[in-house]
Symmetry: C2
Subunit: 201 residues, 2 copies
Amino acid sequence: MTDMKATITAVAVDLFFRKGYFATSMSEIALGCGIQKASIYYHFPGKEELLFGIMHATMQDLLAHLECNLDRATGIENRLRAAVRSHVRFHLERQQETFIASSELRGLSPEHGTIVVAQRDAYERIFQGLIRQGIDQGVYSSGDVRILSYAILTLCTAGASWFRSDGRLTMDDIADIYENFVLNGLKAEHQELRNGYVAIQ
Amino acid sequence: MTDMKATITAVAVDLFFRKGYFATSMSEIALGCGIQKASIYYHFPGKEELLFGIMHATMQDLLAHLECNLDRATGIENRLRAAVRSHVRFHLERQQETFIASSELRGLSPEHGTIVVAQRDAYERIFQGLIRQGIDQGVYSSGDVRILSYAILTLCTAGASWFRSDGRLTMDDIADIYENFVLNGLKAEHQELRNGYVAIQ
DNA sequence: GTCTATACGATGATAGAC
DNA sequence: GTCTATCATCGTATAGAC
């Protein structure tokens, strides 16, 4: 019944989320699993591989989730809407793992760091492609695509930090709020308001 | 000439920013200052007080910066614009300290943590007041004020993570981009687009 | 697979000389 | 104010019994 490898990962996710990777010790993880710390090394080569496993799997699932949601949407506006919604929902549903994935990069070895950064870049490039298409088709005002993608992603990622499943708002409420906020922010109509500034491409 | 207390703080800021608080040791800080680690304890009671000093001063300056900028602006739209701009600029100008202040809360003792959280809350309440006024006056669409304030603040705070002073964009470019993005996101006109959703207050 | 026991380095912090 | 020397503790990780 108890797949110990999965248990260790689950306990580690909880502790890394609450205390941070560096502030969490192998003894604490073992304590949470009801085993001795030495036993962890039968399942994992070390603490860093534990972190990498969590981050790598989370990034993989995040990308798969996005691709799955994009497959069902047509038209640039619907596709960007679907992408934002996919991003927000995944971060709300897997709050702890996504928080770790976005805040504990410094805990990885250079090799593992490179891998996760590549995953993150591939994910971001999908958003940048959508934004660029929207701008090319005149749906959105021109702007720095990379900066806009960062803005959108961090904004929605941050939602994961303050979401409480027992709070006033449901996941759908929050997804709605961000969806509107982001889509409005990109809309072309309001952009010319201010002193003729147009961001470089 | 060399105020060692200031030097220690400066070196700590640099290391806490690059490696994180828990991953930074007193020996490393001492090495960066050209002294022995024991000498640090003449200037500071311990590592945690070093972190608290940095975070507390940064939050104080952040609030003062905002109040100073708000004093010069009249009218709700200009005031929110000034607030966003003040926030972005401060985070760009004091990139390292603000990054630490927003990511190392878990390193503080409960007592110090309470103090910094109180500072952060006071700062956020100013933004929430501005948004609420804007909504009351019909300039912005109704929405969850607290969530909107979080969204705006994290969005702009994140700018500090990817800003490079040697990059393509100047601080003013970035401030412009975020200013427009946020003000557009709040604008009333586009909000009704989607399925009649209105967030509860 | 999990245990006990332990190696071994690094950590934050202190004592006391200068 | 800064040093050297040192303490007690805890960290990750390993060896080998069961």
